[in-house]
Symmetry: C2
Subunit: 152 residues, 2 copies
Amino acid sequence: MLSKKSKYALKALLILGREYGHGPMLISDVAQREAIPRKFLELILLELKNQGILQSKKGKGGGYQLGKPPTGISVGQVMRALEGPLAPLPCVSRTAYHRCEECPDERTCGIRLVMKEVRDATARILDSTTLADVIKRVDVVTQGKETLNFSI
Amino acid sequence: MLSKKSKYALKALLILGREYGHGPMLISDVAQREAIPRKFLELILLELKNQGILQSKKGKGGGYQLGKPPTGISVGQVMRALEGPLAPLPCVSRTAYHRCEECPDERTCGIRLVMKEVRDATARILDSTTLADVIKRVDVVTQGKETLNFSI
DNA sequence: CTTATAGTCCATCAATTCAATAGGATAAAT
DNA sequence: ATTTATCCTATTGAATTGATGGACTATAAG
């Protein structure tokens, strides 16, 4: 299950993605808009900044903004930054491989064979989906919904 | 990351899968073969039994065996039995759907859109892979390895 | 019917992780 | 200098994870 931390992070990044190009945004504003505990969000955004995903500015007129355009930040990148490797086993991670201590022979481990497939499928999706993609898809759905409401 | 519980469970089930048709096997034997803490494995096998995946017999000549042939037990089924839904969000689970409390509108949630893809991809793999499939794949690899060693 | 065998069940444990909060330090703008 | 806002460290309570101990129950064999 996705942690609240990651959920909050993605929500925040989607907001900052929509705001991209309009200067920095306050933690408090993001927190309020998404009903995220302010102090908790502070930690999350700080971490994302230290991972190079966000930029920040202190003092008046300060706040947070994306470090790159939303087309350049993938969901996979965000989740790895906060939760570590996407892979269900360390021995099938591409970005953070290390062997399972208890595994006598990696090549003949059946669990590994299956989990490798899962990790590849997951990475294929999350690494190819950018914040911009998500925003666009939400807009399409939202648009569709509103049109539907109007037509009633 | 896969919990040790699930890892132990799958290892045990793969052993029991190979042994299928030869009567019950002792917890202690399974534990020893895979270097799993005996008491911990006891809990796991009991849970798998209560979930209908395993059968047990008490007393002398007793032990555990698969409740169905290894072709009839999928990895997805095992993981759901022990860890709950495969889905990264409750709102994208098919087998255990319930909405995210904090989500104002499910239809327009971008995170949901992405995570639904992940859950579908994961479920497609894990639900279509049976214990028998895993065993067979391991045998193919093992066979290949041994042949390779012989040919040197 | 007694005994050895082997799973069942309950309770507890330490260590870690998760979610959240608190408060002072630091940097920047007016 | 003061206000604003992020930065950083520490702490907390609750839940989860991984593991262990011991008493109880069912069964087969003698």
